[in-house]
Amino acid sequence: MESANELLTILPLIIIGAAGLIVMMLDAFTGSVRMAYYVTVFFSGAALVAAFSSLFGPTGEAFHSVIVYGGTSAFGMVLVMTGTLFSVILTRDYLEKTGTHIAEVYSMILFASFGMLLLVASNNLLTVFLGIETMSISLYVLAGLVRDRKQGVEAALKYFLLGAFATGFLLYGIALLYGASGSTFLVEIAATENKGMIYWAGVGLLLVGFFFKVSAVPFHMWTPDVYQGAPTTITAFMATASKAAAFVAFILVLSRALPEARDGWGDVIWLFAIFTMVVGNILALVQDNVKRMLAYSSIAHAGYIMIGLAAGTAAAYGAVLFYLFAYTLMNIGAFGVVAYYEWHKGYDFTDVKNYSGLGFQQPVMGVLMAVFLFSMVGIPPFAGFIGKYRVFAAAVDEGLISLVVVGVLASAASVYYYLRVLVQLYMKENETGITLTRPGTVYTAALLLMGLLTLYFGVNPGVLTDLLGSFKYVGY
């Protein structure tokens, strides 16, 4: 019975793992893409419900302490499953319209999602590594999904090569930390007395691995190419679920394995946060391609989130989790609208000039885009504002005022490239002459839900902040 209870603690993982295998088999035996889609949606929904209910359940460790469940991990699972479920829903319409609707997509998404779930539940550096590898390998495949598209193949190859290097760094870091502390369990690493050269080299390499996964500058080079090259809804999946998973795992590692060393790595993250915000925003300013712009903007968002990590208090981690939630909602939304505009002309209909005058055609989509972009800018009453506000506030409370001022100025600069899209949508005459068709009901409903949640958690964030405030982040 003990082991059955343990299995229940990782219920979302089991559901998604089983779903991945089922979908693969379904594809092999029936070849029905439609059925693969429905099964994926059903199981993702079930996993989301399971993850959501575990939010209010107990917390603890399982499977000889390699897994943690409840609290931060449960919330990480909710983030991952939200990202997965809605990307899957958007993916069907998008791939059908662009003519690459194949069932493998869904099994790869599910396997990637499995890796992410493992990542956010890890209590051991080896689990972290397993999670990251499972996630990354599936994502390499997804990035190059459209094989006859040059950018797609380039994206996949680039992602794979750079990702392999980064994983190497991560693994080397884990090995060194094991050498220094004699363990790969997070808590035991925290307890180590032996903090010599090997230990710090290990911490450094571990940080590099994570910086790559959350695309912090200067490890961000892959992000714009991959985001642009991958099919747009897959980009949404990568930008939300995988980034949220990486950040949640980052929080787990920082808060549990390195709590004592805060003074050491706090400054490192402080420095990289500044690089990430400044470079991400400046490069986003000069992008004409909306997907590339959103890629750089996601780098910039990683920078804002790192402000919270640099603060390193329980309040800051809570703020970061809120930010990740808001980030997931608005990024799925924004990429969803981009995908919708794109499918009218096949791939690469993503130049910002293509959007001229489209805002008033199909007003729901235009308004939703405005909501998501204003939320990304960080303007009330949207969730993005509350996320930014709480992260900045936690950092101000820790005395990181200079860092917050840089963040604030960077986000002021970011206004320009977000507004540029809205200017094209609403303030220019239609130049491309395309007429938008109605998106499917489910597609609209999914995006509408994202928009309403963005608004709801901007107006009434207390529900979520209370929950996140109740988690124990440091040294539990």
Partner: protein, 560 residues
């Protein structure tokens, strides 16, 4: 009444949602007119029931539950003497703005009016909010509709204008956000048991004492944001552009209501929150105000475009408001408040009139007009009244505000020099110059362009929307006390309270070690040294003379 206040604030937002379901343009216009008129009528009881003798606390107070989780950030709205008039100005202008764009807006009508209505809720919220965080949220709620109003329905250069407007404002307000967070934590530690708070009642309580160094930085961060919004002289460059490119309704809302948010925020937050810094920086702000007055007037004089001229005259008028607020006496502050209302009425009317001319002639260049008075006699009368009000002719509203500000500034103890008033008065003279000259070139003289001969006079709708403004222009001019009485007690209390708290903080600061610049700025240590000099030296001198006298007298007595 608490409920009524909330209804007034959110009715326009509800109206905006309603417009989503209306397809026909005509119905959209009538619905928005009905909603804004209802908002105005519902707000009247708030004015009539307002107890002008209550100070230090707001009336019709609604205090919600903390909604940001573990932080004590609450929805608090209420009205007091500082906000009452501006709140009423906002509800009063809304139906007029709706009427003024009745025929000039033809594309995306529902979008236009829903933006106006959202803007209305945001503006009412800004004036009614009594929590710094809520104030910030309502303020940003006004930025989004304004961005679209200028960008979609504006003139040729609208995109540059609106992006500049939006980014310029946001830079200042984001920096203020950092300062706001700092204030929230500081207030939490001092007056709220360590829980983050931005409740206006707590952050202006006497127990909340920020150190002088902190005050300086926070004051500058807040001041920077408000300077951009007002706008004060070196930060004004977005204003003429935004004003000129905005559609008539946008310019009117921008001039009558949006700019007041900056000046109102100075009175509501900047001065009470950072009393010492506000007093120390008062001369600097007064200088910027005077520069604004004269610079705005001089630049207005050379404008070829009527709308740009009015926009620059705005900068000049707002300079007066700034000067009045930083003179730190009741007369000047009262003048500043009534001047905000006056500027809203007269500049609003001017923008509407320019809009009417533009709708008929499709030009705003002064050179394209001339002799219009012959074709449009009714408009000429309205235009004349608005022009004279803007100049500050006695008997009309502009005079009251400017006069009170000049008198208050002349006697200001904080500014300590009558030169501010003397130079500012120059602005009134210049105003007469540029306004009358423009009026003469547009309305009088021979008709030099054939297109102007076909101009038709304003119709019943246009008369109906201008007449209420004219009534108030004259009413404030003749019986200003009907309006100033609302703010009088509160302003007096606020200034006294600010002074007392400033003194309290300065006394506490005297015992601390401050950086040299802060010592100089706030005159802390030198004053202390001087007082100790007085204590140690002078009494001894007096004592010695007295002793001498006493000895002298006693010897005299002895001799006798």
């Amino acid at each position: 009444m608490e409920l009524l206040l909330n209804i007034v604030i959110y009715l326009p937002l509800f109206g905006a949602l309603l417009l989503l379901f209306i397809r026909r343009d005509g119905w959209v216009r009538w619905t928005s007119f009905f909603i804004t008129t209802a908002t105005f009528l519902l707000s009247l009881p708030l004015l009539f029931q307002f107890d002008i003798s209550i100070t230090g606390t707001a009336q019709y107070l609604t205090v919600g539950e903390p909604f940001l989780g573990d932080w004590d950030v609450k929805y608090i709205v209420g009205l007091d003497g500082l906000s009452m008039l501006l709140f009423m100005l906002t509800t009063f202008m809304a139906p007029i703005v709706v009427l003024s764009s009745w025929s000039s807006i033809t594309k995306h009508v529902a979008g236009f009016y829903s933006m106006l209505l959202i803007l209305q809720t945001g503006s009412l919220g800004v004036f009614a909010a009594l929590d710094l965080f809520m104030f910030y949220i309502f303020f940003e709620l006004t930025q989004i509709p304004m961005f679209f109003l200028i960008g979609i329905w504006g003139g040729e250069d609208r995109i540059y204008a609106t992006v500049k407007f939006f980014i310029y404002t946001l830079v200042g307000w984001l920096l203020m956000l950092v300062a706001l967070i700092y204030v929230g934590y500081a207030a939490g530690n001092m007056v709220n048991d360590g829980v983050f708070t931005t409740d206006w009642r707590l952050i202006t309580s006497p127990e909340f004492q920020l150190g002088l160094v902190e005050q300086t930085w926070l004051f500058l961060a807040f001041g920077f944001a408000f300077c951009i919004k007002i706008p004060i002289f070196p930060f004004h460059s977005w204003l003429p552009l935004a004003h000129t490119e905005a559609p008539t309704a946008g310019s009117v809302v921008l001039a009558a209501i949006a700019l007041k948010m900056g000046t109102y925020a100075v009175l509501r937050y900047l001065i009470p929150l950072f009393p010492n810094a506000a007093i120390a920086f008062a001369p600097m702000f007064a200088v910027l105000g005077v520069i604004g007055i004269i610079y705005g007037a001089l630049v207005a004089m050379v404008q070829k475009d009527v709308k740009k001229l009015v926009a620059y005259s705005s900068i000049s008028h707002l300079g007066f408001v700034v000067l009045g607020m930083f003179a730190f006496n009741t007369t000047a502050a009262q003048g500043a408040i009534i001047q905000m209302v006056n500027h809203g009425l007269s500049t609003g009317a001017l923008f509407i009139i320019v809009g009417m001319l533009y709708e008929r002639r499709h030009s705003r260049l002064i050179a394209d007009f001339g002799g219009v008075a012959k074709m449009m006699p009714v408009l000429t009368v309205m235009f004349m009244i608005a022009t004279l009000a803007s100049i500050g002719l006695p008997g009309l509203n502009g005079f009251v505000g400017e006069f009170l500000i000049l008198v208050g500034t002349f006697n200001s103890g904080v500014l300590g020099s009558y030169w501010y008033a003397v130079l500012a008065a120059l602005g009134v003279i210049l105003a007469a110059g540029y306004m009358l000259w423009m009026f003469q070139r547009v309305m009088f003289g021979p008709v030099t362009h054939d297109e102007n001969k076909k101009l038709t006079d304003i119709n019943a709708r246009e008369i109906a929307l201008l007449v209420p403004i004219m009534i108030f222009i004259v009413w404030i001019g003749i019986r200003p006390t009907d309006f100033t009485r609302y703010s009088e007690a509160q302003v007096m209390w606020m200034l006294e309270d600010t002074q007392t708290r400033a003194e309290g903080i300065a006394q506490n600061a005297a015992s601390e070690k401050l950086p040299v610049w802060a010592e100089r700025l706030y005159d802390v240590t030198p004053q202390l040294a001087l007082e100790t000099d007085k204590l140690t030296e002078k009494p001894i001198n007096i004592d010695q003379t007295r002793i001498e006298e006493f000895e002298y007298e006693s010897t005299m007595n002895r001799e006798h």
